[in-house]
Symmetry: C2
Subunit: 333 residues, 2 copies
């Protein structure tokens, strides 16, 4: 496989460029005219560390890599702009495999309005994806960091939690050729939906912009798990976060695989990770407006799950009055 | 090694941020306010593909990775802005090794005025670096692509050629425990300089800006070798390039290791690659002014090595009247 031929085949398949791009792939660098502020984030995904090729199609791997990278832009309230993709190709992946992976990536680009503006293709010992995404906003003040949460703010989350972790349990049980985690109460469609939450996440870009516009003071995407990611907001803002476990929007169908694997659905929702929902804080009086904006523009729900308090750390309060220890902080990868 | 601890140690060592950065490492994304046009490029370097750890110190690997990425911005005539670094850490590289590598990278950042604005650290099967660099210019028109060369333009190159390839010959001979390539005419300092051209290249950022300001119509950096990279300008501009071999500025000291390895110095200069000098075209009447600007602002020389002609392809004309076939086109990595 020649690098130049492969790049030419890739370029022929790229979706149409967005408004900021002046010159795309094929020169020493891409040229853009941002006009305002940019948010830039990088993410790496490596076979055996972040995904397993036997669980995912190549298209799913490419799509998830871009979705996960874009999720960081969603958490800033930025508009998706450009993506730059490094693809490290192992010996057992041929040119058609590369193109299948890039087609999955290009589909998420098309769906989210992201321009694939450049990249690099190289040999690698394991399938490697490193993606840089650039998002846009009119000014730096329109972007939401992790550090603006204030005591008294409401703590809110988009969509539903625990689905990605439940999907992982289903995949894990299937792949280890144990009896598959099928329970009488779970339909085939529900299983497929949970597995899709794990293998085909989508970034909450529109919901992120809605929350930024509705007055969010701090925001993060849920990649490592609610407990750990909430801890990032608490630390960056110098505040404490109090979460009421009973209010968490646990995804429908999570209970069955959790039970079969002898896990608590609440644990999946708080430390499972990879749901790529948005966790945000905002003045309590703005909650109703924000929920309406997220529903209208973001196509999902907004749930109030707790509040910001003085102090530090994250408390997850159980209905009985006890506390759940927040987990998921110190992970490499 | 915890990701968060390592990131905290990394952040403590970063050079001061540049004028475009509003928020650096530690949030979901970095925030910048570009103000004008940006040039963005990504490069990946993987152990065993792009470098060998036994030849280079970790600091050299980190420094070269950033230098090579910035060389693409030099070739656009952009000012160095921000860099985003993905570091894939193999099992045999400890936290101190990571920091040594990042110190080498930070030294090149400091030297070039580049802000290390974000990154990602992950496990990987082999040491992996993927670097995204963002450069700035007042407008998109100030950036020089590969496609503006016109028949009649002069073809020029900065600095000297063949040094990096000669350095590679010296390293290769040393490492294979053959008799080292020492010849009576070569001083220790000259050997060290050639090896540094291979292991510690520096991007020609100031020379690139000088050439852009002096009217360059097309520009590329010499990573794959003069023949192959000239072919990129020829193809992108729809022109032919005629290079006079006798005019090539071959680096002092290249002849000795070339002779010992039974290679032609001219071959090292035309297809050795990795010199990271700039190859540019510009109207012939602007050459004298451009040479003066490169010398004054860029701290190096500018040599006229040929001309742009109608047609296509690259011709390297030997002093006797024959032609050297241009090589180095189809390389993966």
């Amino acid at each position: 496989m020649g690098e130049f031929e492969l790049l030419a085949r890739i370029r022929a398949r790229l979706p149409r460029p967005g408004p900021h791009l002046r010159l795309g792939s094929g020169d020493d660098a891409a040229i853009t005219v941002p006009g305002g502020a940019t948010a830039t984030s990088v993410d790496a995904l490596i076979d055996g560390v972040h995904f397993r090729r036997r669980w995912s199609s190549l298209a799913q791997i490419g799509g998830k890599a871009l979705a996960v990278a874009l999720s960081d832009l969603a958490a800033m309230g930025a508009e998706a702009g450009e993506a730059y993709v490094v693809l490290g190709v192992p010996a057992d992946l041929d040119e058609d495999g590369c193109l299948e992976l890039l087609d999955g990536l290009a589909a998420v680009a098309e769906e989210t309005g992201t321009t694939l503006a450049g990249g690099d293709v190289t040999r690698a010992p394991a399938l490697t994806l490193a993606i840089t995404v650039v998002g846009h906003a009119e000014s730096a003040d329109d972007l939401v960091t992790r550090s603006g949460a204030r005591p008294g703010d409401a703590l809110v989350v988009t969509g539903e939690l625990g689905g990605a972790a439940a999907g992982l349990l289903l995949l894990d049980a299937d792949s280890e050729a144990r009896s598959p985690l099928v329970s009488p109460g779970q339909t085939k469609g529900e299983r497929a939906r949970l597995i899709a939450r794990q293998l085909e996440p989508r970034p909450r870009l529109a919901a992120g912009r809605a929350l930024a516009g509705a007055g969010a003071t701090a925001m993060i995407d849920l990649s490592d798990g609610l407990g750990g990611d909430a801890g990032q907001i608490a630390a960056a803002s110098g505040v404490g976060l109090r979460i009421e476990a009973a209010t968490l929007p646990i995804e429908a169908g999570v209970a069955e695989p959790a039970k079969a694997a002898e896990r608590d659905p609440l644990e999946l929702a708080t430390s499972g990770g990879e749901d790529y929902e948005l966790l945000a804080t905002l003045p309590a009086k703005l909650f109703a407006g924000a929920a309406a904006a997220v529903e209208r523009q973001g196509g999902t729900t907004l749930t109030r799950i707790g509040e910001v308090v003085a102090g530090g750390g994250v408390e997850i309060r159980l209905p009985g009055g006890g506390l759940l220890a927040a987990a998921g902080f110190d992970q490499l990868g």
